[in-house]
Amino acid sequence: MSDTHILHAPAAGGPAAADDSRFIVREPHHPENGTLLGFWIYLMSDCLIFACLFAVYGVQGRAYAGGPTGAQLFDLPLVAVNTAMLLLSSITYGFAMLESQRGRLRQTLGWLVVTGLFGLAFLGLELHEFHHLIEHGAGPGRSAFLSSFFTLVGTHGLHVTFGIVWLVTLLFQLGRHGLIPENRRRLMCLSMFWHFLDVVWIGVFTFVYLMGVLP
C-alpha cells in the first residue's frame, strides 16, 4: 500500500500551492497499529506448521506396521462430542466479543469463562482418548500412522492448552483494568487465535478421523 504524502513547503507560492492537492493521496482508512495484521501473519505461519504435519499424516496415515488401524481405534461419537465442544466454545467466544463491543465487562467475563470451560472439556476428552490409546498398546511408538497421528492431534491440543492459559491471563487483565483499548486488542487477538484453532480442527476431524475410518 502506497501512502505517499508529498508535502510542499508553504513558501512555494501561489500556483504551486494550488497544485499541492494533486500529490496528497487521501486514503479512506488506515489502521493505526499493525498488531492485528502481525498476529494474522503469525497465524498464517502456524498454518504452515499444521500443513507440514497434515502432509506427514497424509503420507504415513496408512502405514500401520501390522498394528491397529484407524477404523479399529477411532471412536467417532467421542470425536463428534469433541467437535461440538470446540464449536460451542467458538460461538461463546463470539458472544464475549459482542458483549465487549457493548462495553459490558461482567457479561464479557462470563462468556469467556464459558469458553474456557468448553476448551477444558475438549482437552479432557482428548487426553482421555490419548490415555485410552496408549493403554491399549497404540501409543505413538507403535507405527508411523500413530506417530503422525499423535504429533498432529497433540500439536493442536497444545495450541488449545496455550489458548486456555492465555484466556485465564486475559480474565485477570480484564478483571483488573476493565475494557481498556489494550485489553480490547488482546481480546481481538485471542479471538483470532481461538477461531483459527477451530478451523484447524475442521481439518483434523475430516482428514484424520473421518477419512481414517474409511475402508
Binding site: P28, H29, A51, A55, G58, L87, M97, M188
Partner: protein, 128 residues
C-alpha cells in the same frame, strides 16, 4: 464498512479494533448454524455409510470440510477483502497456495515413490 464520513475522533474509537468491522450477533449465529450443519453432514456420511464407495465419501467430506473452513473464515474470523487494506486476505491467499503445494506435492511424490519402488517393480526397472 464505509469509513468515508468518519471523523478522526471516531477513528480513534475504532483503533482498538484495528479497522475490523464490528461483529454482529446475526453474523455469529449464521456462522454457527452453517458450521453445525456442515459438521453433522460428514459425520452422518461416514458413520451411516451413506455413499457406496470410500473414494466418493472421502471427496464429499473433504469438499464439505473446505466449505466449512471458508464459513469459519468469513463469519468467525471476519475475513473480508477490505480488512487491513486487503493485506490479511493477501497473506491468506499466499498461505493457501504454499499449503496446497506442500500437501499436494508431498502426497503426489510419496505416493509415486511408494508405487514405483515396490519390490515387485524393481526387476522391471533393471530390465529397462
Amino acid at each position: 464498512m464505509s469509513h468515508d464520513h468518519t471523523t478522526p475522533g471516531h477513528d480513534a474509537a475504532h483503533a482498538a479494533e484495528g479497522g475490523h468491522a464490528p461483529s454482529t450477533f446475526r453474523g455469529y449465529m449464521t456462522g454457527f448454524v452453517l458450521s453445525v450443519i456442515l459438521t453433522v453432514i460428514p459425520f452422518w456420511l461416514v458413520m451411516d455409510g451413506v455413499l457406496a464407495g470410500s473414494g466418493a465419501t472421502a471427496l464429499a467430506i473433504l469438499g464439505i470440510g473446505a466449505v466449512q473452513m471458508v464459513v469459519h473464515m468469513v463469519y468467525f474470523l471476519h475475513m473480508n477483502p477490505r480488512s487491513e487494506g486487503g493485506w490479511t486476505l493477501l497473506a491468506l491467499i499466499f498461505t493457501v497456495i504454499i499449503v496446497a503445494i506442500a500437501l499436494a506435492g508431498s502426497l503426489w511424490v510419496m505416493y509415486h515413490l511408494n508405487v514405483n519402488m515396490m519390490p515387485g517393480h524393481l526387476h522391471d526397472m533393471s530390465s529397462m
